[in-house]
C-alpha cells in the first residue's frame, strides 16, 4: 500500500498539487490489473472448456458421472472386492487399496527411517556408514526405477512349491510375492474394542495421576506401566465378557433410522448454516485480531477483500449444495444411514467368538498353478514391489529429516544431560528426541504426503490402486476428464487429512511462548 501511495504523493508534489490521472492511481491500477487478470484467466478457462465441449460432442462422448453406476467389464487384481459390480465400486476399491498402502507404508517407513536416521549419527563406524550408504543409494535413484527393479527381482525368485496346505513358517517368499501370518478382526471384535477404549480412557487418567504424583513427590510411579496395565486388564476381561455388549447395536440402529428420517431440505439447511457460521466465525476472529485497545485498526482494501471473500465462499457453498448438486443431500442421507446400519450390524447376540483371529499362510491350487491361499496376509508381487519401494525410498528421506532434527538440538542440551548423569538412552529419550521432534514434524508430514502420492506409481506395475483402476475405467468408458477429477479430489482429500493431522500435533508440540 504505502509505497505506491508515497510515490503518488511525491509525484503530486512535483507537479504542484495536480492529481495524477486516474489510471495511475495506485488503488485503481491495483484493482484494475487484478480484475483484468481474473477476466483473462476466466476467458482462457472458458475457451478451453468450450473447445473440450466441441471436441467431446464431435466424438460423441457424453460428459457426466453416470458411468459410476454402470458395470465394469473386468476384474481387479486385488482389494476388498476383486469383482466389483460398478465402476464406482471399483474406484472405491482402488481408493481403499491406496489408503491401506499409504497407512501401512507410513508406519513402516517411519520406523525404518528413524532407525536409519539415528543410526547415521551413531558413534559406531560401521553402523553409521551402512546407514549413510542406505540413504545415499536409495534417495538418488528414482522411485519408479526402484519399484520396477523390486518387481522384477521378485519375479525372478523361485516358484511356489507344488505341495499344498499350511506353510510351516512365518514368512514365505516366492515369485508370487510375500506371505506372512494374517491377524484379523474376529467375531466379537467391535464389542471387545469398546472395552479397550474404556480401558484406554481410564488408563489415561491413571497415567496422568501417576505423573502428577511423580512430579510432586519425586517417587518412581511408572505412569506408562500403569496405563498399559489398565488397558491390559480391560482387554483381558473384555476378551471373555464382550458378548454382554450385544445391545450396543440397537443404539446405532436407532441413529440410522434417525438419519433416514431426515429430508434433503434439512441437510441442505444444515450444510448452509455450517457454511454461514464458519464464515461468520472467521470474520469475527479476523476482526478481533485487528482490534487494539484503542479500537479497530484501519482496514485496508486487502482486509475488506478477505472479509468479502469469506462471505463469497459461504455463498458459493450454499449455491453448490442447493443448485449445483442437489443430489448431494440425499447422498449424504443414504450413505449416513448405510454407515450406521453397517456399524449396528457389528454388534449382536450371535457375536460370541474371539475378538481377534490369527492364521498362518497356506498354499492352494488355483487353476493349474499353486498359489498362496487366503489364510495368510499375501503381498502379491505388484503390491510387495510398490510397498517396499515406497517404504524404502521414503525411509531414506525420513532418515535425513530425523538426522537434521537431531543435529538441530543445541549441543548444550546433551552436555547438560550428561552433566546430570543421565544415561545415553535416557538422554536420547527424554532430552534430545522431544526437542528434535519439533523440528522433525513439519518435514515428516511432507514425507507422509509424498509417500501417499508416490503410491500412485503402482500404475507402472499394475497394482490396482486408485490410479490404475481409474485408468481401467476410462479405457472402458472414455470418461477421462471425470476420472481425473475423481483422482484429484481423492488425493487432495488425502493430502488435506494428513496436513490436518500433522498440524494438530505440530500445534500441540509447539513451545508455548509467553
Amino acid at each position: 500500500m504505502s509505497n505506491e501511495g508515497a510515490a503518488g504523493d511525491v509525484a503530486s508534489l512535483s507537479t504542484l498539487g495536480t492529481r495524477p490521472p486516474f489510471y495511475r492511481d495506485a488503488t485503481v491500477v491495483k484493482w484494475l490489473s487484478q480484475v483484468v487478470g481474473l477476466i483473462l484467466v476466466l476467458l482462457g478457462l472458458f475457451f478451453l472448456a468450450s473447445q473440450a465441449q466441441n471436441n467431446l460432442e464431435a466424438r460423441d462422448i457424453a460428459t457426466g458421472y453416470d458411468f459410476l453406476g454402470t458395470a465394469l467389464g473386468s476384474d481387479l487384481g486385488s482389494g476388498i472386492d476383486t469383482d466389483p459390480d460398478t465402476s464406482g465400486r471399483a474406484l472405491w476399491v482402488g481408493m481403499v487399496n491406496t489408503i491401506r498402502l499409504a497407512i501401512a507404508g507410513i508406519a513402516l517407513a517411519t520406523i525404518l527411517g528413524v532407525l536409519v536416521g539415528v543410526g547415521r549419527l551413531s558413534r559406531n563406524w560401521i553402523v553409521s556408514r551402512t546407514s549413510s550408504v542406505f540413504v545415499e543409494t536409495l534417495r538418488n535413484i528414482p522411485l519408479l526405477v526402484q519399484i520396477i527393479l523390486i518387481f522384477v527381482v521378485i519375479a525372478s525368485l523361485p516358484r511356489v512349491e507344488t505341495d499344498q496346505g499350511p506353510i510351516h513358517g512365518w514368512l514365505h517368499i516366492s515369485n508370487t510375492g510375500v506371505s506372512i501370518p494374517r491377524v484379523t478382526i474376529g467375531d466379537g471384535f467391535y464389542q471387545w474394542i469398546i472395552f479397550v477404549i474404556v480401558g484406554a480412557a481410564l488408563g489415561w487418567r491413571v497415567m496422568r495421576r501417576q505423573e502428577r504424583r511423580h512430579d510432586l513427590t519425586g517417587q518412581q510411579t511408572y505412569p506408562w506401566l500403569s496405563l498399559t496395565g489398565v488397558v491390559a486388564v480391560f482387554a483381558a476381561v473384555g476378551w471373555f465378557a464382550h458378548p454382554v455388549l450385544g445391545w450396543v447395536g440397537a443404539i446405532f440402529d436407532a441413529i440410522a433410522s434417525g438419519v433416514d428420517a431426515l429430508t434433503p431440505g434439512i441437510v441442505q439447511l444444515v450444510i448452509s448454516l455450517i457454511a454461514v457460521g464458519a464464515a461468520a466465525q472467521w470474520i469475527r476472529r479476523f476482526l478481533a485480531s485487528h482490534r487494539t485497545p484503542a479500537g479497530l485498526t484501519r482496514l485496508i482494501d486487502d482486509d475488506y477483500f478477505r472479509i468479502i471473500f469469506a462471505g463469497v465462499a459461504a455463498v458459493l457453498v450454499i449455491l453448490f449444495v442447493t443448485l449445483g448438486w442437489p443430489g448431494l443431500s440425499s447422498w449424504v442421507i443414504n450413505s449416513g444411514r448405510d454407515l450406521f446400519e453397517v456399524i449396528a450390524d457389528k454388534f449382536g447376540d450371535g457375536r460370541t467368538g474371539a475378538p481377534i483371529a490369527a492364521y498362518r499362510p497356506d498354499i492352494e491350487q488355483l487353476g493349474n498353478f499353486p498359489n498362496y491361499g487366503p489364510a495368510g496376509l499375501n503381498l502379491i508381487q505388484a503390491l510387495a514391489a510398490v510397498y517396499f519401494g515406497v517404504v524404502l525410498y521414503t525411509a531414506a528421506f525420513i532418515a535425513e529429516v530425523v538426522r537434521g532434527g537431531i543435529l538441530a538440538v543445541p549441543k548444550g542440551q546433551s552436555e547438560a544431560a550428561q552433566a546430570l548423569g543421565l544415561r545415553r538412552t535416557t538422554m536420547l529419550r527424554r532430552v534430545i528426541l522431544p526437542q528434535a521432534f519439533r523440528v522433525i514434524l513439519p518435514p515428516l508430514g511432507n514425507q507422509y504426503l509424498n509417500l501417499t502420492k508416490n503410491t500412485s506409481l503402482a500404475i507402472a506395475i499394475g497394482y490396482s490402486d486408485v490410479v490404475q483402476v481409474g485408468q481401467t475405467v476410462y479405457n472402458q468408458t472414455g470418461k477421462t476428464l471425470e476420472v481425473v477429477s475423481i483422482w484429484m479430489l481423492f488425493y487432495l482429500a488425502c493430502s488435506l487429512t494428513i496436513s490436518v493431522v500433522v498440524n494438530f500435533f505440530n500445534v500441540r508440540m509447539r513451545i508455548v511462548e509467553r
Partner: protein
C-alpha cells in the same frame, strides 16, 4: 514427488561439515588404528554386538551383490550391446555425428565455464587420494575373496552340471583365476604408497592437487581404456557386434570420446587463460555472455543440431526474414520513441494502446475473424510487454540504446526459433519423438527447468504479493498441484490436453509431457522461491521505497537477487527431484531410458526377458547424476554461506 530434498538439505548439509572441520585436526594427530577400532567399533558390549551384526549383514549383502553381478549367467551383453539404444534410442546412424556435436558443445561450454568461474579451493590432499586408493584396493581384495567360485564351463560352452547342480571351481582355483583383480589391487596399493610419499610443500602445508585438474585428469583413464577394452558395443549388425578387430570399442565410439576429453582439457585451459588475461570488468561481462549462452544452448542443440530443420530458403527470404526485419526495425523505432525525454503520459498511453492492439489479435484468432501468422501475434505481444517496461529506460541515450538492443536480440532469437521449429526435420526416426533413451530424459529435464523457473518465480511473487485476487489464484494453483501426484497430471496432459485444443491444433507426446512437467515443477519451485522471498527483511523494501524505486524495479533489482540466492539449496534439490521424476516418462509411453531397460531390451530376441541387468544399469546412471548434483549442491551451499548469515 519429493520436495524433501529441498526441505531437509539446508539443515543437513551444514552441520556435519562444520563439526568435521572443527574436530579433525585433534583426532588426526594421535590416532593409532587399534585405538580407532576400539573407539569406533567396540566401545561397549552393545556396540560390539551391533558391529558384529552389521558386519555380517554387510559382508553377506556384498557377497550376494558380487555373486549376482559377476555371475556367468548374467546377461550384461544386453546392456553392452544396447548402449546406444539406452542413451539415444533410434537416432539414425548416419546422422549420429549430431549427437556427438551436442555432447561436445556441452562439454566445451561446461569446461569453459569452469575455467572462467571456478574458484581454486585448497585442492585435494594427496593423503586423501592415497587413502581412497588404499580403500579401493582393500575393497577389491575383499570382493575377490568374498565372491563364490565361478562355475565351470565345458568345452561345448555350456555350464557343467552334475547331480547336485552346477560344478564350481575350488577356492584356490578361483583365487588364481582372478589374478587380474589381485594385480589391480596391488597396483592401486603401490600407487597409494607412492602418492603418500610425496613430501609436504616448502611452506609446510600438506601436498595437494587442484580438484578440477585431478577430476579431468582422472577422466582420461576411462577414455583411454576404450582403446584397449571392449566396454560396450553400440550396435548389432546382422547378429555381429560392431567392434574393432582387436576387440576394443568401435572406432565410432572411442574416437569421439577421446575428442571430447581433448575438448574438455582445451576449453578448460582456454577458460583459465582468458581469465588470467582480462581485467575484472571484462571478466564479469564475459561471464554474463557465457551464462546467456547456457540459456540458449539447449534450444539450439535440440532444434538446430539434433533436429536439423530442412529450411525452405525461398520462404525464409520472402516471408520470415522480412517479417523479422520489419519487427526489429519497427519495434526498435517504437521503443526509441517511447523512451524519448519528456514523453510522459503519452508514452504510457501508447504502451497500453499497443497492448490492446496485441490482445485484439488474439481475440480475433479466438473468434476466427481473420487469419494471421501465430508468430506475428506473439511478436506484437512481446513488443507490447517491452513497451510497458519502456519507462524504466527513458532518459539517457545509453539506457535507450540498451532497451532497443535488447529488443533486437529478442526479436532475432524469437523469429529464428519460430522459423526453425516450424520447419520439418531431416532426421527420420521410427517413433514420433526425435530422440529417446537417456537423451530424452535430459532434454525433458532441462526444458522443464528452464520453462518452470520463470513460471515458478511469477507464482511465488503472486503468492506473496499484496494483490489479493492474484494471491488467491496463485495459492489455489500451487496447493492443488502440490496435493496431487505427478502421474495424474501427466496423464491429464497426455490424454486430456488434446481434448482442450482447437480442432486444427496437434500437440506431440513430448510437448504435452514437457508441459505437464513444467506446470507441476513450477508449483514446487514457487514454494522454494517463496521461502527465499520471506527471508528478505522489511528494511530492504523500505529502503527501496526511500530511493524511489518502482514496484518492478524493486522486485527485479532488490528483492529477487537476494531471495533467489537464499533459495539456491532447495532449488538444486528441486532440480534433482525433477531429474528423477523424468523416469515417469516411461509410464506415459515415451521411450526413455527406463522403458528401454524395462520393455525394449527384454523384447529383443537375443536378450529375451533380460530385465534386471538393464534396470541395474539405469539405476546406476540415475544414481551417478543425482549423487553428483547433490554433492555439488552441498558444496555450493557451503560456499555461498547460506544459512550462516
Amino acid at each position: 514427488m519429493d520436495d524433501g530434498d529441498g526441505v531437509g538439505a539446508p539443515v543437513i548439509g551444514d552441520k556435519p561439515a562444520i563439526e568435521r572441520v572443527a574436530t579433525r585436526p585433534a583426532e588426526e594427530t594421535h590416532r593409532s588404528s587399534a585405538e580407532w577400532i576400539r573407539k569406533n567399533l567396540f566401545p561397549n558390549p552393545f556396540n560390539s554386538f551391533l558391529t558384529v551384526a552389521f558386519g555380517i549383514f554387510v559382508l553377506v549383502s556384498a557377497r550376494g551383490l558380487l555373486n549376482f553381478v559377476f555371475s556367468e549367467e548374467r546377461g550384461w551383453d544386453a546392456v553392452r550391446t544396447n548402449l546406444r539404444l539406452i542413451f539415444t534410442h533410434a537416432y539414425p546412424e548416419e546422422q549420429y555425428v549430431r549427437v556427438w556435436v551436442c555432447v561436445g558443445v556441452v562439454v566445451a561450454l561446461a569446461c569453459l565455464s569452469l575455467g572462467l568461474f571456478a574458484s581454486e579451493g585448497e585442492g585435494l590432499r594427496l593423503r586423501k587420494i592415497s587413502n581412497a586408493l588404499n580403500a579401493t584396493a582393500v575393497a577389491i581384495a575383499l570382493g575377490v575373496v568374498l565372491r563364490e567360485p565361478s562355475v565351470l564351463i565345458g568345452a561345448d560352452g555350456e555350464t557343467v552340471r552334475d547331480a547336485d547342480g552346477v560344478v564350481r571351481q575350488s577356492f584356490a582355483e578361483a583365487m588364481a583365476d582372478r589374478w587380474a583383480w589381485w594385480l589391480a589391487a596391488a597396483v592401486l596399493a603401490v600407487v597409494a604408497l607412492a602418492v603418500r610419499r610425496v613430501p609436504k610443500r616448502s611452506d609446510g602445508s600438506p601436498a595437494a592437487v587442484p580438484t578440477l585438474d585431478f577430476a579431468i585428469g582422472a577422466m582420461a583413464l576411462p577414455v583411454l581404456s576404450t582403446w584397449v577394452y571392449p566396454w560396450g558395443h553400440y550396435a548389432f549388425a546382422d547378429g555381429e557386434f560392431i567392434a574393432e578387430p582387436g576387440r576394443t570399442v568401435a572406432m565410432s565410439t572411442k574416437v569421439p570420446w577421446t575428442v571430447m576429453w581433448v575438448l574438455a582439457v582445451a576449453s578448460l585451459i582456454v577458460g583459465r587463460w582468458v581469465r588470467a588475461q582480462v581485467d575484472e570488468r571484462a571478466l564479469s561481462r564475459l561471464r554474463a555472455v557465457v551464462a546467456f549462452t547456457w540459456l540458449v544452448v539447449p534450444f539450439v542443440l535440440y532444434w538446430v543440431v539434433l533436429r536439423d530443420p530442412d529450411l525452405d530458403w525461398d520462404r525464409i527470404f520472402t516471408v520470415d526474414a522480412p517479417l523479422a526485419l520489419a519487427f526489429g526495425i519497427g519495434g526498435g523505432a517504437v521503443l526509441w520513441w517511447l523512451t524519448a525525454d519528456g514523453r510522459g503520459e503519452l508514452g504510457r498511453i501508447g504502451a497500453i494502446a499497443l497492448l490492446g492492439f496485441a490482445a485484439f489479435h488474439w481475440v480475433a484468432a479466438f473468434m476466427g475473424w481473420y487469419p494471421m501468422l501465430q508468430k506475428v501475434r506473439i511478436s506484437f505481444l512481446l513488443l507490447a510487454v517491452m513497451a510497458l517496461l519502456a519507462h524504466n529506460f527513458s532518459g539517457e541515450a545509453a539506457k535507450r540504446r540498451r532497451l532497443v538492443l535488447a529488443w533486437l536480440v529478442i526479436t532475432t532469437v524469437f523469429h529464428y526459433f519460430a522459423t526453425v521449429m516450424n520447419t520439418p526435420s531431416t532426421v527420420e526416426t521410427p517413433t514420433e519423438a526425435l530422440i529417446g533413451g537417456f537423451a530424452v530424459t535430459l532434454v525433458v529435464a532441462v526444458f522443464t527447468l528452464m520453462l518452470s523457473f520463470p513460471l515458478g518465480v511469477v507464482l511465488a511473487l503472486a503468492r506473496t504479493s499484496r494483490l489479493p485476487i492474484f494471491r488467491v489464484m496463485s495459492t489455489a494453483y500451487i496447493e492443488v498441484v502440490r496435493g496431487v501426484p505427478l502421474i495424474t497430471i501427466l496423464i491429464f496432459f497426455v490424454v486430456i490436453l488434446p481434448l482442450f485444443l482447437p480442432a486444427n491444433m496437434e500437440i506431440s507426446l513430448f510437448a504435452s509431457a514437457t508441459l505437464g512437467y513444467t506446470l507441476f515443477s513450477a508449483a514446487y519451485l514457487a514454494e522454494n522461491v517463496r521461502g527465499g522471498l520471506q527471508s528478505i527483511r522489511r528494511g530492504q523494501y523500505e529502503a527501496s521505497d526511500a530511493v524511489g524505486l518502482s514496484t518492478v524495479q524493486r522486485t527485479v533489482f532488490i528483492v529477487l537477487p537476494q531471495s533467489l540466492r537464499a533459495s539456491i539449496p532447495p532449488l538444486v534439490g528441486q532440480v534433482i527431484a525433477t531429474f528423477k521424476e523424468t523416469s515417469l516418462l516411461a509410464i506415459i509411453g515415451v521411450f526413455d531410458i527406463l522403458r528401454m531397460a524395462n520393455s525394449v531390451i527384454p523384447a529383443q530376441t537375443q536378450f529375451l526377458g533380460i530385465k534386471r541387468e538393464g534396470l541395474l544399469f539405469v539405476s546406476l546412471v540415475y544414481w551417478v547424476f543425482s549423487y553428483m548434483l547433490s554433492k555439488q549442491s552441498q558444496r555450493l551451499e557451503r560456499r555461498l554461506g547460506v544459512g550462516e548469515r
